[in-house]
């Protein structure tokens, strides 16, 4: 193994860029799992759904995938609100969310995935956009635009979410619902409605994350599975429900994965996030920026 400074710098930069994209994937789970305590393991399946939405419109009309995903946000929002409503009526109300709620989302993961397989087949699909080919060269450092653009938009998304949570009434109500539902009710706010909005927002982020995913790599229906462990590892490592923590954790995992695949071979990279997950759970379960 030849160690060179060039290689190291490039690995770190691409890790940070990929990390920015991971943050978009993890931000939705950070909302649903971190704040609302809903273990939505079907989230990667919704991300793949977002990828296919971007693919369909890009392939048919040549629209920009990120633009498509922004237009699709309301559709995903409605989907999320619907799913929360079912989840609430069937599980949260009866107090059965732990076992059956998990099984419910696991079932949704499979239904979404197989439905996509039946409709689109198992071939890899990709999209076309102006930023997919070119690479910027900053000195020795290569910045491929197909990763840099999603990273930038993803950071914008997270900044917007952070503003929403910290500055608006709805956002503060979402933070409050995680702490004390009764207090919220005393303020004449319906906690179920707030939770529905928050969960719907979390699913809406999957639309954007899906577009980023298909820009970065070709997608087939079951690639989402590779990201389940990674997304939850990021959430736990970053500290449940903390968006800045999610960004830091994503970049950390991105960099370590990138270094691992540069210096030890790509086949070892998937083990990184699990190592982090176990380490965090064993040493500091509250995560980096946990409350």
């Amino acid at each position: 193994m030849i160690f060179s400074f060039d290689l190291l710098i490039n690995a770190v930069v691409s890790g940070i860029l990929i990390g920015g994209f991971y943050a978009a994937m993890a931000s939705g789970v950070s909302l649903s799992f971190g704040i609302l305590d809903i273990v939505n393991i079907a989230h990667p399946a919704f991300i793949i759904l977002g990828s296919y939405a971007a693919y369909t419109f890009n392939h048919a009309f040549g629209f920009d995938p990120i633009l498509v995903s922004i237009v699709m946000l309301p559709a995903f929002y409605i989907l999320g609100a619907g799913i929360y409503q079912i989840y609430y009526v069937a599980f949260e109300k009866r107090g059965q969310e732990s076992l059956r709620g998990l099984a419910f989302f696991f079932g949704l993961l499979f239904i979404t995935e197989v439905a996509l397989v039946l409709y689109f087949g198992v071939d890899y699909r990709d999209v076309e956009a102006w930023y997919i080919g070119p690479t910027w060269h900053l000195g020795d450092v290569d910045v491929p635009l197909r990763i840099a653009v999603p990273c930038m938009v993803s950071l914008l998304l997270i900044a917007a979410l952070q503003l929403l949570l910290g500055r608006t009434f709805i956002g503060r109500a979402i933070m409050a619902v995680a702490q004390d539902q009764l207090a919220l009710r005393l303020m004449a706010v319906n906690p179920i409605r707030i939770k529905r909005i928050a969960f719907a927002i979390s699913i809406a982020t999957a639309s954007l994350a899906g577009a980023f995913l298909i820009i970065i790599q070709p997608v087939e229906p079951s690639v989402g599975r590779d990201y389940i462990g990674r997304i939850f590892a990021i959430c736990v490592l970053g500290g449940m429900g903390s968006l800045p923590g999610t960004v830091i954790a994503s970049m950390l995992i991105g960099v370590v994965e990138s270094l691992t695949s540069t210096f030890y071979g790509p086949s070892w990279a998937p083990a990184v996030s699990f190592g982090f997950l176990l380490l965090t759970l064993a040493v500091r379960p509250a995560g980096l920026l946990g409350r």
Binding site: I41, I86, R100, I111, V114, L118, A271, L277
Partner: protein
């Protein structure tokens, strides 16, 4: 019923099943039946942790694959060193069980002190990591996969698939007996209290961590034992398909469809669901088959949270209430029994 008579009756039923399979005289019955039996073991094993304790394990595929790859490792070790004799299947099962049990224990120790969701997520990630390890481990074939040569025939039984079928049949009986034994023991009551209210269980003196660790270890070990004969069944073992999440969804769907609170539930769920799957795979396609499993799982957890067993109980209790109800409504709490009997669906 005590355990010993139950064991004897189960063995007699198992004997009848085997005799019936022999009587049909079609080798395909053994191939299809093996998979049903394998899922009886997997869903029973999942239910010991999931149904009794309430901790969801998504890593069924990982534990199963650990058992399968233990067998491959032993097989290759024998092949490399040119050792002459074939290791008997019970020994392979035992090794697979021990390996999976140890991994289950280790992972449980790290994550079970936290909330249940963390354990579930860790099991999901475990599958990915073990798969990474296996892909990078050339001795068991790496990403290319591993071939296992099945012996042509076995004395007394004839074809090798009959031998595998018999081994899995006995393992299924064993796991059902274990599950039933746990269910009626102090350990089982401890598990049930953990599922209902962990804090209250801890406060009443249930050693929760120890009980959970025992459940994880037994559950993992049984899954590993179910995986050990798999390389001989399939002939060619490949990491992607062995670690697949398909095992996890089946192992979760079967107990939840059958009913998680008793040992009968996983048995009913596995027999019904897997027979249905075999039928769909043959007649339509294997993708549709997973779609149906997913839909059934979601439908059951929403509409019939206690599974088929729960539906049966409700039906019979309903009748029972109607029968005795008249006396009770008249005598003590008027209104309470009709309310329970007429509980909306």
């Amino acid at each position: 019923m005590r355990t010993l008579p139950f064991l004897v009756i189960s063995l007699v039923i198992a004997g009848l099943v085997f005799a019936a399979a022999l009587a049909i005289g079609n080798e395909y019955i053994f191939f299809a039946g093996y998979v049903v039996l394998q899922y009886i073991v997997l869903s029973t094993a999942w239910n010991i942790l999931g149904g009794y304790c309430g901790y969801v394990n998504f890593g069924t595929g990982a534990f199963f694959a650990l058992g399968a790859y233990s067998t491959v490792a032993i097989y290759n070790f024998i092949g490399k060193n040119e050792l002459p004799h074939v290791i008997p299947m019970p020994v392979l099962m035992l090794v697979g069980g021990v390996v999976s049990g140890i991994v289950g224990f280790g992972m449980g120790y790290l994550t079970l002190r936290l909330r249940g969701a963390f354990f579930s997520i860790a099991t999901l990630a475990l599958a990915v990591v073990l798969q990474t390890l296996v892909i990078n481990w050339d001795f068991v074939g790496g990403s290319r996969g591993a071939y296992i040569l099945r012996p042509e025939s076995v004395p007394l039984l004839g074809s090798y698939i009959r031998y595998l079928f018999l081994a899995m049949l006995l393992l299924a009986v064993g796991s059902l007996v274990i599950a039933r034994l746990i269910e009626r023991s102090r350990l089982g009551y401890g598990m049930t209290t953990i599922r209902d209210d962990e804090l209250a269980a801890e406060a009443s003196g249930v050693p929760t961590l120890r009980v959970k660790l025992i459940a994880t270890t037994i559950s993992g070990a049984l899954m590993g034992m179910a995986g050990a004969p798999f390389p001989y069944y399939i002939g060619y073992l490949q990491p992607d398909s062995t670690f697949a999440l398909d095992y996890a969804i089946n192992a979760i769907a079967m107990p939840l469809i059958g009913g998680t609170s008793t040992w009968v539930g996983p048995l009913i769920g596995a027999v019904l669901l897997d027979s249905l799957q075999q039928l769909i795979t043959v007649t339509i396609s294997s993708a549709v088959n997973l779609l149906i499993v997913g839909c059934l799982l979601v439908a059951f957890v929403i509409l019939a949270p206690n599974g088929i067993v729960g539906l049966f109980r409700k039906y019979f209790r309903h009748k029972h209430d109607d029968f005795v109800g008249r006396h009770r409504t008249a005598l003590d709490e008027p209104g309470s029994v009709p309310a329970a009997g007429a509980a909306p669906e």
